[in-house]
Each structure stands twice: as C-alpha cells, then as structure tokens.
C-alpha cells in the first residue's frame, strides 16, 4: 500500500486547480486521471473562454489546459498517474487504481473527487445507428485526433456545448444543417448562437427528434415541432438527410465513485443530477472525502477552476498544512466564484446549491 497525504481523482480544470493549491501547501499529492493526457475536457476546447482574467478569459481552452498543467508539473511533491482508473474507493480512504494492467492500492489522509461529468443521452427510435454521437465524442475525434465525424450534421441541443461544437464543425468544413432545441428558447449564450446563425445554421426551437432513419448507418433524422406543453404537433414532421447526428442535451455529475463509500447523495436537477451533500468546505458526509467541479454540479470550466482552487486550499487547511496565503486566497476565490454566478446563467446553480445546503443542515 502506497500512502499519500492527498489523492485527487480527476485531472480536469477542477482537479488540476485543486492540485496547484495543495502542492503549494507542501502536501504530498497524487493526481489520478484515466485519460492519456491531463486537462479534462479543456483539451478539446478550441474556442476562447469567457470570464475575467482570474479565469484566464480570452485564452482558448486548449491553452488553459496547458497553463494548468504547467502550473503543477515541476513540483516534487506531486505524482501524476495518467491512463489510470480509480475502480474502488473505501471508507478508510483506500483507493484501488487500475494502472498498467495491474491493480494498485493507495491510501490517503484526504481524497478530492474531481471526476467531472458525463453526457446525457436521448431515447428515440434507432438511436444506436452508427453516425450518432455525443458532442464530447465529436470533439475528441475532431479536435484531439483530427478526424472528421461526417459530412452533414444535425445538432440536438442549443446549450453552450451544442452551439460551440456547431461552430467547431463549421471551422472543420463540416456542413451543419441545423440545431434542434426542444425548449422554446436557446439554452446557451446568445453570442454563441448569433455566431453560428450568421454562418447560416438555422436554430429550431420547440422542436425535437422523433427518430433516426437508416439501415446500416444513419441516413436521415425525423424531427417534429412541440407545442407550449412540449407535446408533439401532428403533421409537423420533417425529414432531414444527414450522415451524422450530434447529441448535446446536457451533462450529469459523475458521482458514482462517491456511492462506493455511501456518501449522502441528493438529486438536484439544477445541478444536473445526483450530487454529494457537502458542507461549507465541500466535504462529503464521509470524513476527509471532498468533491469539487462538475462532479458537484454542472457549470462552466471557469467555475470549476475557482472551485478547485478553493477546495485545494480548504483541504490543506483541513490537513493542518494551510497554504501560506490561505485566508486571503480563500476569500478571493470565493469572491470570484460569487461573481461568476452573479448573472442570470448563475441563478440555476445558486438555487441548486441552496437546496444542497438545506439538505446538509437537515
């Protein structure tokens, strides 16, 4: 058994940011990620990011990933394990990690779960035909490996990911025939919507997918309009010929590893699904096990970074090795997080976090 002071599960924006504060606090840290490279979803994000300077605004996601990795890579007190999957987490903070064909066991004084999120999928006829992808898969193919997913695409979902992936498909020379959105209005930032609209991509709100058509692979998609009660309007069916369907209908927090230690969980739709009940420093109901980033509620990467920094600082303090500038930094990152959530797009998160707080006090 290998012992560490802190083990962080997940090397995306939240995990890397937590790692930075933890190593600056002189903790002996292990960062585990299942992918070949650190950075999480940032390594697929070719667009410039929103936010303010503290969140690296106007840097492209790919470059934010490089910066976050750079920020931690030279520390002797940080060990990074890539291509490694945490398959077990136990009450005594023992982790079983599948790495290099072997099961390795670690034990930590504290664990931060920064596992991020997984994509939601949609139920419709023939949804298993080749040519139907989640938006994350399309980004991986296109932006990590340089492989085009198809020729003609229909996008399902007008959240920020749907809008951004549409833009990236257009940049790659792929024809996007439209964006279908079941809600009566566009889900993501309107600047992203305007950006793809002026490039000629129609956005169809109050519309949903009825079925996929094709024999061996996707050949067409049938869509249908919805009324204000989200009921299909008969006779409004339309067939759109495409070889690729991209599904971008939201994310759910990856909470599963926390269920292994029986952490108290709660379903909070505003946060994207089932999340761990946490206290003020993001500690779960299981002592010394913490959670941050999208695993605790779906937000933008900018918020995940701020939450990662905060959780790293709080865990260092919890382990009695506070960062030299602990109080000041905790205050600042709290302020930044509050600021990011202070607009209309932050309302949902604030409501969700309020519900979570009520639960933990109950």
């Amino acid at each position: 058994m290998i012992k560490k002071e802190l083990i962080i599960i997940g090397g995306g924006p939240a995990g890397l940011s937590a790692a930075k504060m933890a190593v600056d606090s002189n903790l002996d840290v292990l960062l585990i990620d299942r992918s070949p490279s650190l950075g999480g979803q940032l390594i697929k994000q070719t667009h410039k990011f929103f936010g303010s300077k503290k969140q690296n605004a106007k840097m492209r996601g790919i470059d934010i990933a490089k910066k976050l990795i750079n920020d931690v890579k030279d520390y002797k007190n940080l060990e990074i394990l890539s291509n490694a999957t945490v398959v077990g987490l136990y009450l005594d903070k023992v982790l079983t990690v599948f790495y290099d064909g072997k099961y390795v066991r670690y034990q930590a004084d504290a664990v931060i779960v920064a596992t991020g999120a997984s994509e939601k999928f949609l139920a419709f006829e023939n949804n298993d035909l080749p040519g139907i992808y989640g938006a994350g898969a399309i980004q991986t193919l296109m932006n990590v490996y340089g492989v085009l997913p198809g020729k003609d695409v229909l996008m399902i979902g007008s959240g920020n990911i749907g809008l951004i992936v549409t833009y990236q498909l257009l940049q790659a020379g792929v024809n996007v025939k439209g964006i279908v959105e079941a809600a009566p209005k566009i889900g993501g930032y309107k600047v992203h919507a305007s950006k793809v609209r002026r490039l000629g991509v129609p956005i169809m709100t109050s519309t949903t997918i009825k079925r996929a058509v094709g024999k061996d692979c996707l050949e067409a998609v049938e869509i249908i309009s919805l009324d204000e009660k989200w009921q299909e309007i008969p006779g409004t069916n339309k067939i759109i010929d495409v070889d690729t369907l991209c599904i971008s209908v939201g994310l759910s927090p990856m909470h599963q590893i926390l269920s292994m230690v029986n952490a108290k969980m709660k379903y909070i739709p505003e946060l994207g699904g089932v999340v761990a009940v946490v206290d003020d420093i993001n500690q779960t109901s299981v002592e010394s096990i913490f959670v941050c980033g999208d695993a605790l509620g779906i937000e933008e990467a900018s918020s995940a970074m701020m939450e990662g920094y905060l959780t790293g600082l709080n865990v260092a303090k919890y382990l009695r090795k506070p960062h030299p500038d602990s109080e000041n930094l905790i205050h600042n990152y709290h302020q930044e997080l509050d600021l990011l959530r202070n607009g209309p797009f932050g309302q949902k998160t604030l409501i969700g976090l309020q519900k979570l707080k009520e639960t933990s006090h109950a």
């Binding site: 940049q171 305007s194 607009g343 209309p344 932050g346």
Partner: protein
C-alpha cells in the same frame, strides 16, 4: 427573437450603433445583448472606452468619445460579438473577427452576409491581419456599400 433564432432584432442592433456623425471615425459596435460573466473587452481596451464594472455579468457600455476604433476588443471578445464600423464616403468599412481558413487576401471580393446568415452584398477585403497576440482570430478590414451599415456582419468565401 434573439432567444429563438440567434438573430438580434433591428432595435437591438441599432441601439449599439453610435450616431452617423460619430462614425466618420471608426467606432466599436458591441453586440453583446445578454448578461454573461465575461469582461475581456473592457480589460483589453487601451483607452478605457468600454465599461462593464465590478459585476462582470453586466453588458459592456461604450464611451464613443474615448473609442479610437483601434480594434483590440474585436479579437479579444471570446463571443466574436464586436466589430468596428466607419463611414467612408459611399462605403461602410468594417473590422471584423474571422476564424476560418483559408483567410481571404486583400482586394478579394467575398460575399457580405447579414445576421441571419443571408448573402446581402459584395464585400471587398481591404486588409487581413493575424498576429500572435490575436491568438488565431484574424482581423479583416472589409468595405461594403454604405446602405448595408446596419445589416452587414461577416463575410463568406465565394
């Protein structure tokens, strides 16, 4: 309309254009119509002409007198929501962000496109700039007939 289609209304667009007299010099047109947490336009402006304030969720406000049309904000805006416009005789001259390859060449005639993605006119490419600090967002100087001042938004390869 913006919420359903991604196309801002005519009133929204006009609200972001200064008076025609002011446009004899180049001025930034800030087409950010929604409170989102973002402020690189304000922090990048070398002339302090764009104000968002402490709450970064607020929409940017342009001080027309301070704006020199330098276009730093155009390539700084992560939403590609800023252009610079100027009236020069019978032409409206724009500086727009562009993130597609191939880039056009000066003197090329490309298609001028409106906010709905429809081709509306010919657009003459005057200048193409792409520098390291612009981080792969090129700045195109494009001229179109003056009467497309409020309609033109981008170019498309013919």
């Amino acid at each position: 309309m913006l919420n359903q289609t991604g196309i801002p209304s005519k009133d929204q667009v006009l609200s972001r254009f200064p008076k025609e007299n002011d446009l004899l010099k180049p001025k930034a047109i800030l087409e950010c119509y929604e409170d989102i947490p973002c402020n690189p336009c304000a922090t990048s402006c070398p002339f302090d002409a764009i104000d968002i304030g402490e709450n970064i969720n607020k929409q940017p406000v342009l001080d027309v007198d301070k704006c020199t049309g330098c276009s730093v904000c155009v390539t700084s805006c992560p939403g590609l929501a800023i252009s610079v416009a100027q009236l020069v005789g019978e032409k409206a001259v724009f500086k727009i962000p562009y993130e597609f390859i191939p880039l056009p060449n000066p003197n090329d005639i490309w298609k001028g496109v409106n906010r709905a993605g429809e081709v509306i006119c010919d657009a003459t490419i005057e200048k193409v700039v792409s520098s390291k600090i612009m981080d792969r967002t090129a700045l195109l100087t494009v001229s179109v007939p003056r009467n497309y001042l409020h309609e033109f938004i981008t170019v498309r390869k013919p």
